[in-house]
Structure formats: C-alpha cells, structure tokens
C-alpha cells in the first residue's frame, strides 16, 4: 500500500527523518537524551537560536527524609537557646532535662502505661470513625435516598464543633472511656465523609459512559470504576481524620482522665514539672507526625497508578 502522505502529514514527516542534522550543530544538541550539563547555553550560537532548556516548573526531586528537617531544626534551636541560658528552666526545660524526665517515666512504667492508654483510645476512635464515615459516604454517594437522608445531616454536624457537643455527650455517656472514644470517632467521621462523598459524586462522566458502553453490571461498575476513582478523596479524608483523632484525643484527655498522656501532663502541671509536660507534647507531636507519614506511605502504595507532580 502506498498512501499519499502529502495531504495530511505536513510537518509531521520531519519527526521521522529527525531534526538534529538539519539544525546548526553548535547550538542545538541532538534531541535524544543529552545529559542536562551538556545543554549549557552557548552564546556564540547562530543569531535567533536559544538553548533548548526550559525552566523546570515542577517541584524537582524530593529530598529523602526531607519532612524531618523542619522539626529537627526546631529542636536544634531549642537546644541552642537552652544551652545559651536564654530560657528560664522553670518555664521551658532544656531538651536534656526532657530526655531525663522521659527516662524516669520509662523506668517507673508510667510512660508506657500512658502511651498505651492514649494510643488505644485514638486508634479505636479512628477505626470506628473511619468505618462510619465510609459507610455514610457510600450510602449517600451511591443512592439518591441515602443522599437525601445522610448528606444534610452530616453537613449540619460539620458546622457544630465537637467541643460544642461535649456537654451533651458527657450528659449521655458520662465521663468514661465510651464518651472519649465517641468524641474522637465523631471528629474522624466528618473528615472521612466529606472527602469520600465528594469524590464519589464527582466521578468523571466519561468513565460512567465507558462503563455503560462496556455494559458493566452495577457491582463491577462500583468495584472497578467508582471505588478506585474515589480512593484519592478517601485518602485526603483519612489524613484529615488522623489529625482529627489526635485533636479529639487531646481534648478528651483534659476531661477527668485517669490515664493517658493528657492525664500525665495534667499531673505534671500540678507539680510544675515542665519536663513531663514537654514529654507529653513531644509524644503528641511524634504520633501525629508518624501517623501522617504512615498514611502517606499507604496512599503512595495504593495509588501507585497516579503520576502526580510530586513524583
């Protein structure tokens, strides 16, 4: 078959015969993978030609463990300020005395006990909250009836901070563990719900059309199209939810707790032990940081098909 290309190919043929030998060799290196350094501007080039280098608009390569850099700098500054004697040890103890406090707490077993109490609270609240958020998002994202019943309610809940619900929850559930877990779960549910629901209802119409053209059953459509499309939204929600869980934890541990990191800090406040208070803060910060990193890790694995600007 010899098809006449002239009417349609136009400049396209140039891509086959290749441009390099047509261009002045001094200014335009071959287009095929020159190392970046080889592309340095050659000002002696023929008039009107510029080096084929574009400003890189992406964010560039990621720094390994780069996320740790900021917190480390902060600790370093704290250390320096303490050593220089700029900080009143009664108000803010030095990192060294915080480490000593942590050691003492560890030896007495109070540290492990408090961490365990707090972690199990936060984790339980998180699990219940995520499950509830996902179920509600599916109910309202996939059916009009569910949407009518659930969505408005959750939007109302969204505008009432958990703090405002506390008096009622304490009245209903007392000040025990149940109330604490419920408060944490409530905060988590909303974050998961809002983002997962938004992702479910904003699915690309072109994919729905494809699913119809392929005659997918409703179940396959859900499994292969809707849920994968909603996963990025779910993960956004999950990262917010994890933050919400720690926040909820800190709030509920201020209320008559008899165990946990918050309780440990409250007692330290009574005896003006700023070292222990700082141990608690560092713990909260570390857990928040580590859990976010964990969610990101899982997100990266699950959404490996995504090619984003951070890649």
């Amino acid at each position: 078959m010899n098809l006449d290309l002239t009417s349609r190919t136009g400049g396209g043929t140039a891509t086959v015969t290749g441009g390099p030998e047509k261009a002045p060799p001094s200014s335009a290196p071959p287009a095929s993978t020159p190392p970046a350094d080889a592309r340095t501007p050659d000002t002696s080039a023929a008039a009107g030609l510029v080096p084929a280098i574009q400003r890189r608009l992406g964010r560039g390569k990621s720094i390994p463990f780069g996320r740790l850099l900021g917190p480390l700098l902060l600790v370093l500054a704290w250390w320096g300020a303490s050593a220089a004697g700029w900080l009143d040890p009664r108000k803010l103890s030095s990192p060294a005395s915080v480490v000593t406090s942590a050691q003492e707490l560890w030896v007495s077993g109070r540290l492990q006990e408090s961490v365990q109490a707090s972690l199990s609270r936060a984790l339980l609240g998180l699990l219940i909250g995520v499950a509830a958020g996902v179920v509600l998002a599916l109910a309202s994202g996939l059916s009009r009836v569910g949407d009518a019943v659930v969505d408005g309610t959750l939007q109302v809940k969204r505008s009432i901070p958990n703090l405002a619900l506390l008096p009622l929850l304490i009245l209903w559930l007392g000040i025990g563990e149940t109330m604490k877990v419920v408060v944490i779960a409530l905060g988590v549910t909303v974050g998961i719900y809002i983002n997962t629901h938004a992702a479910l209802v904003s699915i690309d119409a072109r994919y729905v059309e494809l699913a119809e053209a392929q005659r997918l059953s409703r179940w396959v459509f859900l499994r292969k199209v809707v849920l994968p499309a909603a996963l990025p939204g779910f993960f956004t929600g999950l990262r917010l939810a994890v933050t919400a869980a720690w926040l909820g934890l800190i709030v509920v541990e201020q209320i008559n707790a008899t165990s946990g990191i918050g309780y440990m800090m409250f007692q330290a406040q009574q005896y003006a032990q700023s070292g222990i208070i700082l141990v608690g803060l560092v713990l909260y910060g570390t857990f928040g940081f580590a859990s976010d990193a964990l969610v990101r890790l899982v997100e990266g694995r699950v959404l490996s098909w995504r090619r984003t600007i951070t890649a």
Binding site: V16, R206, Y207, A213, A229
Partner: protein, 262 residues
C-alpha cells in the same frame, strides 16, 4: 416528546427481528433545546458492512452514534433503534481507566473464565502483547488507542461503533491505525460505523460512506475499491471529490456554501 428508551433492543423479541441487518434505525429524531439535530433519520447497516459517517462539524454525527450506542439517556427524541446484542464502542480518547493495568482495562466487563486469555490474545493482535501489565499513562497516544481497540474487539462484537477514534493521533500513526483497523475488521467481520470528518480516512477504510448534513443523510455512497487502496487511483480521487462536494468543501462548489450551521 418522550425520552426514547434504548433498552428496548436489549434482548427480548425485538432482538430477533434483527436478522440480515446489523443496525436498523427508523424515524430517529434528536433535539437539544429547540434545535433539532437529527430529523427523521432512517438507517440500515448490513451485517459485516464497513460504513463511514461523514459530516461537517456539528452536523449530528456524534449524536447519531451515541443514540445507536444507547448512551443518550437524557437526550430528547423519538424513533426506533435495533442493534445486535454485542456492540462495542471506541471513543475519540482511549478512555482507559488510569487505575487499571492495560490487560485489566482490556478485559473490563468481559465475562468468562478465559477472559484474561482472550484479553492477552487481543493485545497480541494490536501488537501490545508485551505491555499487558503497564499503566495506561506509560503508553503513547497511539498505543493507548490500540489498547482501546483491543478492548472493543475482545468481546467479538457484531457491531463496532467508533467516534473519530484516530482524531487525536498524528498523521503517520493514523495511517498505521487505518491498516490495523482494516486488518482487524477483515478478521472479525463486525459491522462498523465509523464517524470521521476525514474524507480520505472514509474512502480508505469504508465500503460505504454516508454524509450527514442538516439533520439527515444527503449522500449514500458505495466505495467499490479493492481492499488495499491506493489514493492515487482515479476512482479513489473521484469518490473523494464527490464526498468533498457533498460536504460543501470544494472551492468551486456552487450548490452549497461552506459556512457552519448556526
């Protein structure tokens, strides 16, 4: 006017009515607002017939194709459309799901235990056998469209609908895709309805070319050329001129002006 329910053709006694024809359309109208895009269109496609649908931009080609594909749930209109049970659709974009690997995209919705085997065979047919586990974004535009072609053929359709499937490809890739499509067509023999605005593409590929203008067909042209077509052939040129005339795209055309319908 009522919204037409395309599901009439899904099985049931109506499907039996389709015997010699692959598509039968009677009195099809479609409107957007007050604008009637299709006016009482009748169309019969024979089994195994390769038909190209030409028309100016906005002439209603996609509207007709989407109606035949049963995808225009919300469009207002009347008429009867009968299609075979197995219909496949190729879109202008490859429309691969980015979260499924190529093979999983190809077998999406394909029933049977041997689905993956058939998917691999279909990928081999479009020379993508080695890319089964690649992500869609790792493929070039032409490769993506070949994967989409594999997805549409793996179900052995009796009717293949395609809306400008090569519109986004460069000219050379497009010519290779023409040969591929023609080869696949000759092997599988589905009826094909190919929407295009490229006259050469229509004459190169199809055995019959329909021209849509102002809501109805203005030309139904048989292309009696050998399978391996030479654009230099005088008959090829004559068909080309006829079609360009019907499209109002000839410089010395006196019967029709070339301005876009409003």
């Amino acid at each position: 006017m009522a919204t037409y329910d395309h599901r009439l053709s899904d099985g049931g006694p109506v499907a039996e009515a389709v015997e010699s024809a692959a598509v039968r359309v009677n009195g099809l109208t479609r409107s957007f607002g007050d604008r009637q895009v299709l006016r009482n269109v009748d169309l019969t496609l024979a089994r195994g017939e390769f038909t190209a649908l030409l028309g100016r931009s906005g002439s209603g080609k996609s509207t007709l194709l989407r109606a035949v594909a049963g995808l225009d749930h919300t469009t207002v209109g009347t008429g009867e459309i009968l299609v075979p049970r197995r219909v496949s659709l190729v879109f202008q974009d490859s429309r691969l799901l980015p979260w499924l690997r190529i093979l999983d995209n190809v077998v999406l919705g394909l029933p049977g235990d041997d689905a993956r085997e058939r998917g691999r065979a279909a990928l081999d047919e479009v020379s993508l056998g080695g890319r089964a586990s690649a992500w869609p974004h790792e493929l070039s535009g032409g490769e993506q469209q070949r994967a989409a072609l594999a997805r549409s053929l793996v179900s052995e359709p009796e009717l293949l609908l395609a809306d400008e499937p090569f519109g986004s490809l460069d000219a050379l890739t497009r010519i290779r895709m023409h040969r591929l499509l023609r080869r696949l067509y000759e092997r599988h023999r589905p009826a094909v309805l190919l929407v295009t605005h490229d006259v050469d593409e229509a004459v190169t590929l199809a055995d019959r070319v329909l021209v849509l203008d102002d809501g109805d067909f203005v030309l139904d042209l048989r292309i009696d050329l050998p399978a391996d077509r030479d654009p230099g052939d005088p008959l090829f040129q004559r068909h080309r001129t006829t079609l360009l005339g019907a499209l109002g795209a000839l410089p010395d055309d006196r019967t029709k002006d070339t301005e876009e319908p409003s």
